[in-house]
């Protein structure tokens, strides 16, 4: 029995160009910070890669700060912009209530350890950030806000957020956006969005694990998390991971991702499931969404049971939410959208990628009704 991968939002296969670029670079000698021939050669390759990525995300090369992950980019941006604001007497960190843990947790840490006041911006039932709330917040407490962070698209539901409008409302307040899920899936331009900072992760877009980038406006100086050689604008130290960076650039440049094809697969999946199981709820259905992500609530089930049963059918999918000691918790994203604990724990995320096929969709649709029946029985036992 073949295995079917419907968890591309967790990570997706590396594209061939990236694989070739990475393996070639692994064989080359040279620390990019060295001044000699070997160092210069690596530096050249690396700066070429930086320019490629800058072009693809609509920023200046100097605005690209390489990090070891999207999580590091988020931490660097949120903490750095908070500390910068705090020096000017601003102590509020405003984040959307549906952020990834890589924003939620540093925000919480700032609250506990660094004197921040964290305000969560709610979302509506479709999972879109409440712009009226934000407008009111900025109008009443704008001069206290150090940073606003709203993700570009949610990792659990795929719902795209109105970042351009958030930036307009924010005015002078620095806005950060976590665009890990969006890059290469939908048009994304740092310059056009007008944000201060944007986080990217290579492995969500056909690049390797262990490399990300913080796109940070030039001339914005924020305190560093990692101190050392000062390689990346003194904001991030550490010898640059040249093989991963060239692979990231190769993936960024690649035309591997066909948004229309992926969204067609997703829609046929939704149609198939809805026909077989009319009681299901597609979360965020009315909102603008990424092509590849769909989040479905199956009433009367528990998602950890469904995951096990799907896995037994060789289908890899996810709940999309974080685990604590592996114990499944209700998704904060679905709770923020108005679900209760029970219905939030009855939901699965299916995410499609460039390598997904209609056969994958057909098989998943064919096994789901039986999985749901067993899942319901287990829930009642």
């Amino acid at each position: 029995m073949s295995s079917i991968y419907l968890d591309h939002a967790a990570t997706t296969p590396m594209v061939e160009e990236a694989l070739i670029a990475m393996t070639a670079q692994l064989a080359r000698l040279g620390n990019p910070s060295s001044l000699h021939t070997h160092g210069r050669a690596t530096r050249k390759t690396l700066e070429d890669a930086r320019e490629v990525i800058a072009k693809e995300v609509g920023c200046l090369p100097s605005e690209v700060i390489f990090t070891a992950s999207g999580t590091e980019a988020n931490n660097t941006a949120l903490k750095g912009l908070y500390w910068q604001g705090r020096d000017k007497g601003k102590h509020v960190v405003a984040i959307s209530s549906i952020e990834h843990h890589a924003i939620l947790d540093p925000a919480h840490w700032l609250e506990v350890h660094e004197g921040a006041e964290v305000i969560q911006i709610p979302v509506n039932a479709d999972g879109v950030v409440d712009l009226e709330f934000l407008t009111h917040l900025v109008a009443t407490r704008g001069n206290e806000i150090a940073v606003i962070s709203v993700m570009h698209a949610n990792n659990e539901t795929g719902v795209i957020q109105p970042i351009r409008t958030v930036v307009e409302i924010a005015g002078e307040i620095p806005v950060h956006t976590d665009a890990a899920q969006s890059f290469k899936k939908v048009p994304l331009s740092f310059a056009e969005l007008g944000v201060y900072a944007m986080s990217l992760s290579a492995h969500k877009t056909g690049g390797p694990l262990g490399i990300g980038a913080l796109i940070l406006r030039r001339a914005v100086e924020i305190p560093a998390l990692l101190h050392g050689g000062g390689q990346e604008r003194e904001i991030r130290s550490g010898t640059l991971n040249a093989p991963a960076i060239v692979a990231f650039a190769a993936a960024a440049k690649s035309k591997y991702y066909d948004s229309a094809k992926v969204s067609a697969l997703r829609d046929s999946f939704i149609a198939g499931i809805s026909a077989a199981l009319p009681e299901v709820i597609v979360n965020g259905l009315r909102a603008e969404r990424l092509p590849g992500i769909v989040n479905i609530t199956f009433p009367g089930t528990q998602s950890d049971t469904l995951l096990l049963l799907m896995d037994a059918q060789n289908i890899s999918c996810s709940t999309g939410s974080a685990c604590s000691a592996g114990v499944h918790e209700a998704s904060h994203v679905l709770l923020a959208m108005g679900h209760n604990e029970v219905s939030a724990q009855s939901s699965l995320r299916f995410s499609f990628g460039a390598t997904s096929t209609s056969a994958d969709v057909d098989f998943a649709v064919s096994v789901l009704p039986d999985v749901i029946t067993r899942g319901r029985a287990a829930n009642l036992s």
């Binding site: 950890d304 096990l308 049963l309 000691a325 592996g326 114990v327 899942g375």
Partner: protein, 357 residues
């Protein structure tokens, strides 16, 4: 068969899962999260409730090459085991929570869920055996008597035993550790867990005091004369001699032992060693692991502690209470403990001791 292997993160359940796979079964590993606020690391010799233990279980499943999931049973465990444990102590009895966990969690909540999901049974690393006989599948002691856990499994009904697989019952613990080593399981030398898993400090009396309070009450002799004070009756056990703090000596200087704990009057009764002697015990909530016991008295053995001796007795069931008459009296027997009847190595059934004389 399609089986769920309950994996605690210890060596026994890891080897049990590996053996089930090797026997050709389709196995999925499941770790039961029994605490809603697990500790990060193991401290001392308690092992199954920390995040470290769940990582150990996951690693073992990966090495064996089976899928692995964590089932959150914290609520069921709290309601069925922890609350019961507290209520029993509050009522002056001495409960066995491992037995309750097998009865209500591992072979009830887990087995029911497994069956509903289309699985045939649950594999555990318990040291016990099952056999197929004319009267169906029966429960037996492990070959390694020093590790035998049939006592804590004696609450399983015939139907639960049908769905239980114990791959370790024919092997000694020493050999299980060697086998784990040979299989490349990192938990091979992990210490055995004992103590009560949900009492993280191992300080049972302190844990109970925090939850049941420490109301001072009298320690009296058998004539009801107060001869001392205690700080919470439930921290004493029947037969206890040390730590009573009595200042009034007996006439002949002989030691005193706890005979009885009376929760309503918050009184601890002490007396002479010979007054601890029990020759008859009765138990309620009887469960049969095979054919039911009848009013017809039978010869057999009764065991009253997890690793206690099997005591020769005759036993019968009057429809309400299971009674065992011991051939030789036993000193110090707490109510709340399980009385488990054996016919040779076969577990006949069990009941919760409610009366002794």
């Amino acid at each position: 068969m399609k089986l769920i292997a309950a994996m605690s993160g210890g060596v026994d359940s890891a080897v049990a899962a590996a053996r089930a796979v090797e026997a050709g079964h389709d196995v999925i590993g499941v770790h039961l999260a029994l605490s809603s606020n697990p500790q990060k690391y193991r401290s001392g010799a308690r092992g199954c409730c920390t995040i470290e233990d769940s990582h150990d279980a996951r690693r073992a499943a990966d090495v064996i090459g089976i899928p692995f999931y964590i089932w959150d049973m914290a609520e069921e465990f709290h309601d069925g085991v922890v609350e019961d444990f507290l209520a029993e102590y509050a009522a002056g009895r001495t409960p066995n929570p491992c037995l309750r966990c097998n009865e209500k969690i591992k072979f009830a909540a887990v087995l029911d869920r497994a069956r509903a999901m289309g699985f045939d049974g649950v594999v555990t690393g318990h040291y016990a055996r099952t056999q197929i006989s004319d009267s169906g599948k029966t429960l037996h002691r492990a070959v390694d008597h020093s590790k035998d856990q049939s006592y804590v499994l004696s609450v399983l009904t015939v139907e639960q035993i049908e769905g239980a697989i114990f791959p370790l019952g024919g092997t000694t613990k020493v050999d299980i550790r060697k086998e784990a080593e040979a299989r490349g399981l990192a938990v091979a030398q992990k210490p055995d867990s004992h103590d009560i898993c949900f009492v993280p400090s191992g300080d049972n009396a302190g844990w109970l005091r925090d939850r049941l309070g420490s109301e001072v009450g009298p320690i009296v002799d058998q004539d009801g004369v107060k001869i001392g004070e205690h700080k919470g009756a439930y921290t004493y056990t029947i037969g206890q001699r040390k730590g009573l703090g009595l200042t009034v000596p007996t006439a002949d200087g002989s030691p005193r032992f706890v005979l009885k704990i009376e929760p309503v009057s918050n009184t601890v009764v002490v007396g002479a060693r010979e007054d601890l002697a029990v020759s008859t015990m009765r138990g309620e909530r009887a469960v049969w692991c095979g054919p039911a016991v009848t009013e017809q008295a039978q010869r057999g053995f009764v065991q009253v502690r997890a690793h206690g001796a099997a005591l020769p007795c005759s036993y019968f069931f009057d429809g309400t209470l299971l009674t065992a008459h011991l051939d030789e009296p036993l000193l110090g027997l707490a109510t709340g403990q399980a009385m488990v009847i054996y016919d040779g190595d076969r577990v006949v059934g069990s009941a919760t001791i409610c009366e002794t004389e």
